[in-house]
Amino acid sequence: MNITTLLMTVVSTSLIYSAPLIFTSIGGAYSEHSGIVNVGLEGIMVMGAFSSVVFNLKMGNTFGAATPWLGLLVGGAVGLVFSLMHAVATINWRTDHIISGTVMNLMAPALGVYLTKLIFDGRGQTDILQHPLATVTIPLLSKIPVIGPIFFTKTSLVAYIGIFVSIAAWWVLAKTRFGLRLRSVGEHPEAADSVGISVYAYRYAGVLISGFLGGIGGAVMAQSITLNFSATTIVGQGFMSLAAMIFGKWHPVGAMGAAVFFGFAQSLAIVGKYIPVIKTMPDVIFTIAPYLITIIVLVAFIGNARMPEADGSTFIKAK
């Protein structure tokens, strides 16, 4: 394996593995900027993964090549509906955010497997997808010397979309009225209320956006990596996204960067055996690497980061 091919493999597997985390972590950032902690991202990803797989298998013949892309939207829509539960619980009923999120995380895999058994004649996992999100070689860009083969050949288009979404997400948060108001309800809801901003409406918006993006993240995971749905389709990616968001200091582009880094850590498990120095290391190290790195990063960075001031708080409007 020559150096260019090796780099191409590292880059493309990193991107493939980071794509689900990119979408989900941006979603997490939106929820937390509105003041709602969303540890239910894991559960949201499970529902997104499940629904996209079912859609992909059932409608693949109808939509052909467009199926996995439509599957992303289906996953996003289902994630959004699922996150509504978190919104109602935390915003209206003032449930502890962590408890509500944990309930979602416990509920989603069970619900997914149960529905899978109902839909697919009692089997605990689905068939393999016929229309996955395949890697693509981007025309023109892939012709650029050196960079083209490494970054734009047999790569993950959806990850590039994720990178674009992260920049757009930052722009919306920083430069628009919607973004300013969303952040204000997460920083100081009483202040936002005092100038006539609906804290509840903006918090709903934050949570539902996280549901939509988390659902897409799950759909990306199922349709480009596991290629089916089972109880083990999503194994910690939601929590990794949460970690990426914190590592990225609640900034969408920072979260994306962290997600790419975590994707790289995960890709080591696959490409590690081709890289000279480290290929002699035992497999188990590569398998645990992403989780280990997540923990180390969290411990090292969580103290420095500045989270939205009213994150995790409930707001009661005066009557």
Partner: protein
């Protein structure tokens, strides 16, 4: 007056259950005037203002704005009608810039995109008109409290308010900042705005208000021209009985040295030197008032003395016993009482009951505990006795400390600390945010402590308080002791200069008097 009032209130009533917080209140507020609402805590001033700013709705009665009857459903309704409120607890987002805070909720946009340029022009026009100096790009968390308040004022002006309500605006300000604020109020009135000042501080009213309405127990007692009333008259109307401004302070000969602070240095976590080479002695039967502008090392000094912050070098002794590196608990047991700066964060555990809070310092000792097991009955008895003695008002001692009013919270702390009969009492801003009645009571307690032969270190941002109580006055500036003088030898303006770090010409002041 032929002018139409900016706001008219007719027979306004607000009832919470059987309790009438506002009972048949009628007042007219005119443009071009500063109109003060004077009343003790709980008199119903805030309820009234919350109705004017749309936060609460009246039970009955009528509000007219510029001659037209209105019903306000939300803060936004009031804003649209030109009524703006500068809140006591600032409604500012710390992480946002000043400009973002000002425009929040009324942002100029181009298709959803914030138009900062247009916003900046409008805000800068306001700043120059009222001669205000604010850095629009600074983050709110990085600017001083006085500056934050100016941001609140600009927020109201940006929304083109004709009526500006100030709710207890000076509680958190330094003397200099208070002067600046009063100047701004005058300017607003000159521009034709109706300025409403809610306060219980007579001095401010005397300085700035044209008209004063006194409210007691939800009723209007009287509306008077401020210039025609003395401070005593106003206080009597507010409290409902004559208030004694001149505290009875017998001469006491100071006894032995109780607190010795010897070349104390305190460095904070960020490695910033907060207290430098600070030496001070306090004797039995003596009150030493430490004057200084907020943030000049007072908090750190108190924390170091009470064991809440490590001492970098130097020595502290209480009644001859070295407590330089003692734990807070040891210091408590060695006879130090502490009325902390922030009663809610350090003085009390708000979610716990009055009984538990009263027991906080002594729950491990007899009679509150036996063999490590708490004696609830003894705690209840102690609390009943102390709440009565120190006039802590609560419907039940089983209520949480958080449910008490600010004044009663403070009395609870004072009851707890004084009842332990400490050799040394350290009190930091003990009357901050309290009304005249409560202040009078607390001052009397501090004087009682002095009379029973205790040493008192009183740290206060209120010069009046220090002048009234202290036998000796010490001034701290930038973490250093810049002067200690017998209270009679310093005038208020001299203290003010020392606080600002200036020397007093022609006067010799002791620096770090050993």
């Amino acid at each position: 007056m032929t002018q139409t009032p900016a706001i008219e209130i007719h027979h306004l009533v607000k009832a919470f259950g059987d309790f009438k917080a506002n009972d048949d209140i009628s007042i007219n507020f005119y443009g071009g005037q500063v109109h003060a609402l004077l009343g003790e805590n709980g008199a119903g001033k805030s309820t009234l203002m919350n109705m004017l700013s749309g936060i609460l709705r009246p039970t009955s009665g009528q509000i007219k704005i510029k001659g037209k009857e209105v019903v306000l459903h939300s803060a936004k309704d009031a804003t649209v009608l030109g009524v703006g409120m500068v809140h006591q607890h600032f409604m500012l987002v710390n992480a946002f810039t000043v400009l973002e805070n000002i425009i929040l909720g009324a942002e100029p946009t181009n298709a959803g995109r914030l138009n900062f340029k247009q916003a900046r022009q409008k805000v800068e026009a306001i700043l120059s008109r009222y001669d205000l100096d604010i850095d629009l790009d600074a983050r709110v968390e990085d600017i001083s409290v006085g500056m934050q308040q100016r941001v609140e004022i600009v927020k109201v002006l940006y929304r083109e308010a004709d009526v500006v309500i100030f709710d207890e605006p000076t509680a958190v300000l330094t003397p200099q900042e208070i002067d600046d604020l009063l100047e701004i109020m005058r300017k607003l009135a000159q521009e034709g705005k109706a300025v409403i000042l809610i306060t219980h501080k007579l001095q401010e009213i005397r300085a700035v208000a044209d008209i004063t309405t006194i409210i007691r127990r939800g009723r209007v007692i009287d509306t008077v021209k401020t210039s025609e009333c003395s401070a005593e008259d106003l206080a009597t109307m507010m409290v409902g009985r004559p208030v004694d401004f001149d505290l009875d302070k017998p001469d006491i000969k100071p006894g032995k040295t109780i607190l010795e602070i010897d070349h104390l240095n305190v460095v904070d976590k960020a490695k910033v030197q907060r207290v430098t080479d600070f030496s001070l002695d306090i004797h039995a039967g003596e009150i030493v008032g430490l004057a200084g502008i907020d943030g000049n090392g007072q908090s750190e000094l108190v924390k170091a003395l009470t064991g809440l912050m490590p001492i970098a070098s130097g020595k502290v002794a209480v009644d001859g016993k070295d407590v330089t590196h003692a734990t807070p608990r040891q210091i408590v047991r060695d006879g130090v009482g502490h009325i902390p700066e922030d009663r809610q964060r350090f003085g009390l555990i708000l979610p716990m009951t009055v009984i538990d809070n009263m027991s906080l310092m002594t729950y491990t000792e007899a009679p509150l505990a036996k063999h490590g097991i708490r004696n609830e009955k003894a705690a209840v008895e102690l609390t009943e006795e102390l709440t009565k003695k120190f006039d802590v008002r609560t419907s039940s001692i089983h209520n949480t400390a958080g449910s008490l009013s600010g004044g009663n919270q403070q009395k609870l702390i004072i009851a707890r600390e004084m009842s332990r009969d400490p050799e040394l009492m350290i009190a930091m801003n003990p009357t901050r945010g309290l009304d005249v009645g409560a202040i009078e009571f607390i001052h009397q307690q501090i004087l009682d402590a002095r009379e029973s032969g205790h040493a008192v270190l009183l740290i206060s941002y209120e010069l009046d308080e220090i002048k009234q109580l202290a036998d000796r006055i010490a001034v701290i500036h930038a973490g250093r002791l810049v002067a200690t003088e017998s209270a009679a030898n310093l005038t208020e303006s001299e203290i003010g200069l020392l606080m600002a770090g200036d020397e007093i010409a022609g006067k010799e002041t002791a620096t770090n008097a050993d």
